[in-house]
């Protein structure tokens, strides 16, 4: 069961594709207001863990307990993929999944999809409730854009914006649902050194200002070591080690997974 200060607890998670065990008996937990990193060499199953948490994949075994906003908890495996965001858990994608033909503001507004109470008929006829909701949520989206310093681009099309901006827009979209846990899939992919540094600051700022936890999967060691409170290393779908950035860096198992064992080097 979930401890007092935990928002997400994964226990004995396993998923198999044919004969391949992509994730094998993995357990870890994330605390409140924590930035938690999930690292591992290529093909370690990081993104698969992500997809299991967000129910894009249904795990074969294991439970994923998640803290609800009202204090209770639920097993995410019992929910459909489009219901996850309603619980307060929202994700980004490795290759930035935005709608090119829409403006920056409209893309952020997609994140408010679940907040609309007005029925389709009310919206089709633009009755007062639909009008009010649209206006209030639009103001909220503008406020988030302002906080992320991209307000001046709100009416531009997403198509053609630089990659760093797209990442920010995607982050803004996740913030629309007032999440308690944001999970970021390789947020530093495709960013240069300066942008990565700014991203690290942004992630910390989001955690503080929007009062949420962050789980990130990352290749970029600088970002992970810089920003994460705790890190979990996995390899071939299995748990290797957990601890602070320093502990992980000196852990022999992790070094072996990334760099190969000493015997191999000699050979």
């Amino acid at each position: 069961m979930l401890n007092e200060n935990e928002v997400l607890k994964i226990e004995h998670l396993s998923i198999q594709f044919g004969g391949l065990k992509a994730v094998d008996d993995l357990s870890f937990s994330i605390r409140k207001n924590e930035i938690y990193g999930l690292i591992g060499p290529n093909g370690a199953g990081k993104t698969t863990v992500f997809n299991c948490i967000t129910q894009f994949y249904k795990p074969n075994k294991g439970t994923i307990e998640f803290r609800l906003k009202n204090g209770g908890s639920t097993n995410l495996v019992d929910h459909k993929v489009h219901e996850i965001i309603r619980l307060g858990l929202v994700r980004t994608f490795q290759n930035v999944e935005l709608i090119r033909e829409l403006s920056v503001l409209d893309n952020v507004m997609i994140g408010a999809h679940i907040d609309f109470k007005a029925s389709m008929l009310e919206q089709a006829l633009k009755l007062p409730r639909a009008r009010k909701e649209e206006k209030a949520l639009r103001e909220e989206a503008e406020e988030i854009l302002r906080r992320l310093d991209i307000y001046d681009r709100k009416d531009m099309l997403v198509w053609g914006q630089p990659y760093g901006i797209l990442k920010k827009v995607e982050l803004a979209r996740t913030l629309m649902c007032r999440p308690s846990l944001i999970i970021l899939d390789e947020p530093a992919a495709g960013l240069n050194d300066v942008e990565t540094l700014q991203l690290a600051q942004l992630i910390r700022r989001i955690r503080d200002k929007f009062d949420c936890s962050v789980l990130l999967v990352e290749h970029d060691m600088r970002l992970v070591m810089d920003v994460c409170d705790r890190i979990c290393a996995i390899s071939f779908g299995r748990f290797l080690a957990e601890g602070s950035a320093k502990e992980i860096q000196v852990n022999p198992l992790v070094q072996e997974a990334y760099l190969g064992s000493k015997e191999e080097e000699h050979a």
């Binding site: 489009h82 999944e97 709608i99 089709a124 649209e134």
Partner: protein
């Protein structure tokens, strides 16, 4: 000073999309009056333009499906035809009021449309196109064979609509009814695509994964897209049969479904005015002008093909974008003129 202010208000008023829609409707509805005033506007033009507007209604539905939601359908003609026969049968053979017939003629095809939407979760792209084509062809074959209901090849006749059991419309006033419903459909489409529903449909087209992660229920919105497209096609079918007053199986072939596709591609994917423009280009222009020229009347297929190629090459977002370019061009010219003036 005061004058400037009222002028500005006028400008703001004209920029309001709702005012624009209503003005557009008013312009369209002057046609019957013009045909009385000026002899060069033949009254037959009313029929052609009226049918073009009816097609625009169905094409708007298809645009919601293909343009906004990224789902294809080659079944528009079949659904439109089904609605036309149901309305004709209920008003003529059963003697039911127009409004009841309209409702029934929307509900039955929409039910079938929703079933197709259920199928669309499993198949996509070309396969979905073939599946919808199959539904449409089954319907067309039914129109040919089920003759107590459809009159088979001799067709089914209907009357101009009678509203609320009191107002018997004639051709001109049915045309006005068509304009009124078109504007209503345009307004509803505008409201929907610029709100939560439109964003959900856009998200579904752009990235299914992102849509799901943002809480968009794919099944629900696919059904919504198919239901809307079929409702619009059904409304168009009912208006058609009560305007032309005949429905033949040969009207509801694959050619018409392809024409709808041509209308939205040529006019403008995801553009409301573009769809209406497309309906005029694909249907009204050949009917009004090209028929006068010998040898050209049979060439509408070829012309559509050439137009589609040209549009995709030069205006991938539809001919409606030409107006934007023209506006920029005129503004540029005006600016130049101003500068010369100052010199």
């Amino acid at each position: 000073m005061n004058k400037v202010k009222t002028q500005l208000n006028f400008k703001a008023l004209f920029k309001n999309p709702y005012v624009q829609f209503i003005l557009f409707g008013l312009v369209l509805s002057t046609l019957p009056l013009l045909s009385i005033q000026f002899s060069f506007i033949k009254s037959a033009y009313i029929t052609t333009v009226g049918v073009a507007l009816i097609y625009a209604i169905a094409a708007l539905g298809l645009n919601l499906l293909l343009g906004w939601s990224g789902l294809i359908s080659l079944g528009t003609a079949g659904f439109m035809g089904l609605a036309s026969y149901i309305s004709a049968y209920l008003t003529v053979d059963m003697g039911l009021p127009f409004e009841v017939a309209l409702l029934a003629a929307i509900l039955v095809p929409t039910f079938i449309g929703i079933l197709v939407g259920l199928v669309s979760l499993k198949i996509e792209g070309l396969y979905l196109a073939i599946a919808t084509l199959a539904v449409s062809e089954i319907l067309r074959k039914t129109f040919e064979e089920f003759d107590q209901f459809t009159g088979a090849f001799s067709g089914k006749s209907a009357k101009f609509p009678q509203l609320f059991g009191m107002f018997q419309l004639d051709r001109g006033s049915t045309y006005w009814l068509i304009v009124f419903i078109l504007i209503l459909v345009m307004l509803i489409t505008y409201n929907m695509v610029n709100g939560q529903i439109g964003r959900a449909l856009n998200a579904m087209r752009g990235s299914e994964a992102a849509a799901q992660a943002m809480g968009v229920n794919l099944l629900k919105y696919r059904l919504v897209a198919f239901a809307l497209a079929t409702i619009f096609a059904s409304v168009a079918g009912v208006l058609y049969v009560h305007f032309i007053r005949y429905s033949y199986p040969s009207s509801w072939t694959l050619k018409l479904s392809l024409d709808f596709l041509a209308m939205i591609v040529i006019g403008g994917l995801r553009s409301i005015y573009g769809t209406v423009l497309g309906a005029f280009i694909v249907f009204a222009v050949p009917d009004l002008f090209l028929k006068q020229i010998p040898y050209f009347s049979q060439l509408s297929y070829t012309l559509n093909g050439i137009l589609i190629i040209l549009v995709i090459m030069f205006y991938p977002n539809g001919i409606v974008m030409i107006f934007k370019d023209i506006r920029l061009w005129v503004l540029k010219l005006l600016k130049k003129g101003d500068r010369n003036h100052v010199k």
